[in-house]
């Protein structure tokens, strides 16, 4: 969402990065490793939000569908901002290596309680997962390189190490990436504007943007103003609370607080107006030669093609972003077709398998 600041944390802000895999940031190479990791974390919630959004039957549960779509777009913006950061420090964003797409159910560890994210339809339990992902968090401990409890800390450590590296090596030697590789506002749209990262200030700006979409007005339901982002905002209910409205089937009023819960109008949510897809579908569970398997493999290949187009766009060929957009529309059509195909168990329809695609496929 443009300039949307949630009172709270993002997916991953509450999520632990496995400690062993996060060494302290001492060199530009360490920084690039961290940013590549951030790319993967930002990506991990895209498939579940995409799936829940599309599982809602066309024209139904509009509020829920738009809320999920809004968060999905934010994740895509974060992914692109991280790519710009990585390019600014002369990195090569990779979206196609074999382990880029996580296996679902995917454990996105949260500070305190652990939970799993599934590729599943829009439902109460999916909403509960989204609430966990988006839950407001009190600010954590100060960043300590090597031991991050949350992604918020992780980004803070990245920011701090940028400053240290700049002081030690000079700004020009840290930000030595080719500026023509930056994704620009004219290339990118949706969920706010992109930041072209070429120096220390713009890097902090980009990090602030990622983090701020999670913070903002700390203890309220409505978005704060948007001075930092320089965008005009209004009184809009932040994502976490929009999810809460949907779950409770009631809207917030101007007088409600997080503890009062929503006390406004009844907002009917129809959980049956949803395609009854299988959770965490796998192409490999369908017999070779079956149409469903072929369609699932085609979808996963399409998703792989999207990631490849994005990778190319993030590695100097910005025009491939347009191809990426076209691929997103194709994926939507493919996904809707799968979601309306009976899986054969008499109950569900086929879900989505984002891959990586089976090598020996069909």
């Amino acid at each position: 969402m443009i300039g949307k600041s949630k009172p709270a944390s993002r997916k991953a802000r509450g999520a632990k990065i496995p400690v062993r895999s996060v060494p302290a940031i001492r060199t530009p190479a360490d920084l690039r490793t961290h940013l590549q990791m951030a790319l993967q974390v930002e990506h991990a919630t895209i498939p579940p939000y995409f799936t829940a959004w599309l599982s809602i039957q066309d024209g139904q549960n509009f509020e829920a569908a738009e809320t999920i779509r809004g968060v999905l777009l934010e994740e895509m913006l974060h992914l692109t901002l991280v790519a710009n950061l990585l390019n600014a420090v002369n990195g090569n964003p990779s979206l196609t290596h074999r382990r880029f797409i996580p296996r679902y159910p995917h454990r996105l560890p949260h500070s305190g309680d652990r939970f799993e994210i599934n590729i599943e339809k829009f439902s109460k339990s999916a909403l509960e997962t989204f609430l966990k992902i988006e839950r407001p968090e009190a600010k954590g401990a100060r960043p300590q390189p090597g031991h991050f409890h949350t992604i918020g800390q992780f980004y803070a450590a990245v920011g701090q190490s940028l400053d240290e590296l700049c002081e030690r090596l000079g700004e020009g030697r840290v930000f030595c990436g080719d500026p023509s590789r930056q994704i620009r506002p004219e290339d990118y749209y949706g969920a706010g504007s992109i930041v072209v990262v070429t120096n220390r200030d713009t890097a902090h700006w980009a990090i602030a943007k990622i983090v701020q979409q999670g913070e903002g007005a700390h203890h309220g339901i409505f978005d704060g103003d948007h001075k930092i982002l320089g965008e005009d905002g209004g009184q809009e209910v932040a994502h976490y609370y929009r999810f809460m409205e949907i779950l409770k089937g009631r809207s917030y009023t101007q007088h409600d607080t997080p503890s009062s819960g929503p006390t406004g109008c009844v907002m009917p949510v129809d959980y049956s107006a949803v395609h009854p897809i299988q959770s965490n579908a796998l192409a490999s569970s369908y017999p070779r030669g079956s149409e469903i398997r072929a369609a699932l493999v085609a979808f996963a290949r399409g998703y792989g093609g999207l990631l490849a187009a994005l990778e190319a766009a993030f590695n100097g060929d910005r025009s491939r972003l347009t191809e990426g957009v076209a691929r997103m529309f194709s994926l939507r059509n493919q996904a809707l077709a799968l979601m309306q195909t009976p899986s054969g168990d008499g109950r569900t329809t086929v879900g989505l398998d984002f891959g990586p695609p089976l090598r020996r496929s069909v």
Binding site: M1, I2, G3, K4, G59, F62, E66, R69, G70, L73, R184, P185, E186, D187, Y189, G190, A191, S193, G234, V325, F329
Partner: protein, 598 residues
């Protein structure tokens, strides 16, 4: 009596919205009176209209099909309503507008061409029509402001034709729309080809057309500030780019196409702008000594539709005052209200010189597949016949290349194929083959100002609320029809179909004439013509109070505080779809108002 306003604006369409925006930016207090309902401004309602378009679009008529019939403020072409226009002639006026907040931009196409310099001086250059009191050069800065407001996607290089100029370094807010395969096909086939008209040779050059539809922003816009596309009303994640939904008219599903709702939304939180919907202005209260408009009388209704017997009927009559009064209610409604108020008419020009672009389709099959039915309805045109010496004898015209194949397809083809017992795979492949080759071009002709083409009122013809309905007299003159003949018989049949190897399927049936068209005969040949929705000329501007309704800043000659603004100020219609010019005129008028209110 309510608060006093710096300006009371009648009409919440693009003109009223733009005037309100410029006045409020200058710190002035403004009231907009809108006859229709809030309607599409509410996102849930917008979605409902879209759903109506998807489910009943074909049966409710176009272009007002998705919108509810409102008996309290009827629109021409309202589905289900009784006819709004009344006629004094056999010939009908085929163009509609919409009375609802946002106005006719809720069904417009979005084409945003500028007029060309000779359109402003038709009498001097070609001995036809009359000259404007202003020139292209005078209006150029206002065109820029209008292009920024509606967010035009275009390429300056394509638009430098017939003396149309832009200041050094100017670029449109966004790059031109990507060119369709239809555009590329014609562009290639017609490259370096030309036609001879009235002794002069004219190239058949295909160029992109400017549209008020979000494409890729141009970072060079605003001397390097760039442009930020405007999203859908109340949904900042929607409509930042055209998605090629191929719906466009009347409603863009994602609002990538501009509507006045976007301009109105920017003012929604301003303390300086108040919008009252469901308030139909019925009369201007004029001080007969000073000529000042002392107030605007309007009828407020509670229930949209307001048939007698419903709550809120009879409507309440209220009055409001403004230092300035601005009529921005569309060319026909402005004229009706002026006539009802016996206002601004010392020249006897109010309601006269009603113009539209007579519109005519030609169609056929292309020699190779060009895959229409994708993208916005039109992205390019043959624009090289919009000006030339031939305007001494016949109308100029533009040829708009349709990206949507033939009208009403695939319905007609399926019916025909089923009638021939074609089923299953054969049906599918035959259908696919036909659809992939369909080309259609819309020719749009200029019309000269004529005092006989006019809006009048009659005391017996009123709507449910007691307001006057427009009574129209209308005809196409020989100047336009001679243009039609040249376009069809010469440019299409002798040039375009030959150069592009089109299998011409154009025919104009007269038994019966298809709905939405009317039959005209010229030199023994019949043509089926429709309207363009380009309603122009009923309160023209001029340099003399004897021949015009307003001065060059759109203030009426007769009343020191009354402005009448919109396409009705146009002196000639040229061949530009008029909304952008109406928006530019609004900018010019609003700037004059700001100076006056200082």
């Amino acid at each position: 009596m309510s608060a006093h306003y710096d300006a009371v604006i009648v009409g919440g369409g693009i003109v009223g919205a733009l005037v309100a925006r410029i006045l409020s930016q200058a710190g002035k207090r403004v009231l907009i009176l809108e006859a229709g309902i809030e309607g599409a401004m509410n996102p849930a309602t917008y979605r409902r209209y879209l759903q109506t378009l998807y489910t009943e679009g074909g049966t409710r008529g176009m272009p007002n099909g998705p919108y509810p019939w409102n008996e309290a403020a009827p629109s021409p072409g309202d589905p289900g309503g009784r006819p709004y226009y009344q006629y004094d002639t056999d010939m009908h006026f085929m163009s509609d507008y919409l009375r609802m907040l946002g106005g006719t931009t809720l069904h417009w196409q979005g084409t945003s061409l500028r007029l060309v310099p000779n359109d402003f001086r038709m009498q001097t250059t070609y001995g036809q029509g009359i000259d404007w009191p202003i020139t292209y050069d005078d209006l150029e800065p206002a065109y820029q402001r209008a292009e920024q407001e509606v967010g035009v996607s275009a390429d300056v290089e394509d638009q430098r034709i017939f003396g149309v100029w832009f200041p050094d370094g100017y670029v449109y807010p966004m790059h031109r729309m990507p060119q369709s395969m239809v555009d590329q096909f014609f562009g290639k086939k017609l490259a370096k080809k030309s036609v001879t008209l009235h002794g002069g040779r004219y190239p058949l050059r295909v160029i992109s057309i400017p549209v008020a539809r979000n494409s890729t922003p141009n970072p060079k816009f605003g001397l390097g500030d760039g442009y930020r596309p405007v999203a859908a009303v109340a949904n900042r994640d929607q409509g930042l780019r055209c998605q090629g939904n191929s719906v466009c008219m009347p409603l863009c599903p994602v609002q990538a196409k501009y509507s006045a709702l976007k301009t109105l939304e920017t003012m929604a939180r301003s303390d300086l702008v108040e919008i009252r919907t469901q308030c139909v202005a019925s009369r201007l209260l004029i001080d007969r000594d000073s000529g000042r408009v002392n107030g605007v009388e309007y009828k407020r209704y509670e229930t949209p539709g307001s048939p007698p017997g419903s709550p809120g009927y009879p409507p309440q009559t209220e009055t409001v005052q403004g230092t300035l009064v601005v009529l921005a209610a569309n060319a026909i409604e402005n004229a009706t209200l002026l006539l009802a108020s016996h206002a601004a008419n010392s020249s006897d020009q109010v309601g006269r010189n009603l113009m539209d672009h007579p519109y005519l389709y030609v169609w056929g099959y292309s020699p190779t597949p060009i895959y229409p039915f994708r993208g916005p309805d039109t992205t390019s045109g043959v624009e090289s016949l919009r000006d030339g010496k031939f305007r001494e004898v016949h109308a100029s015209f533009r040829a708009s290349l349709s990206n949507w194949g033939w009208s009403g397809e695939p319905g007609h083809q399926i019916k025909e194929l089923l009638g021939q017992q074609t089923y299953g795979k054969a049906l599918r492949s035959e259908l696919a083959a036909r659809m992939a080759h369909m080309v259609k071009i819309g020719f749009m002709f200029e019309q000269l100002p004529s005092p006989k083409n006019r809006v009048t009122i009659s005391s017996e013809l009123r709507d449910t609320m007691g307001n006057f309905q427009p009574v129209l007299s209308y005809h196409y003159d020989a100047y336009s029809l001679a243009g039609v003949e040249v376009a069809v018989e010469k440019v299409w049949k002798k040039a375009i179909t030959r150069y592009a190897e089109i299998d011409d399927k154009t025919c104009y049936p007269d038994d019966p004439v298809p709905p939405g068209y009317q039959r005209v005969m010229y030199n023994g040949i019949g043509y089926n013509i429709m309207g363009s929705g380009h309603i122009v000329g009923t309160h023209r501007m001029g340099s003399s109070r004897r021949h015009s309704v307003t001065d060059r800043n759109m203030k009426t000659w007769d009343h020191p505080n009354l402005y009448v603004v919109g396409a009705g100020n146009q002196v000639t219609i040229g061949t530009a779809n008029p909304t952008l010019t109406a928006a530019a005129l609004s900018v010019r008028a609003a700037e004059a108002m700001v100076r006056e209110l200082k």
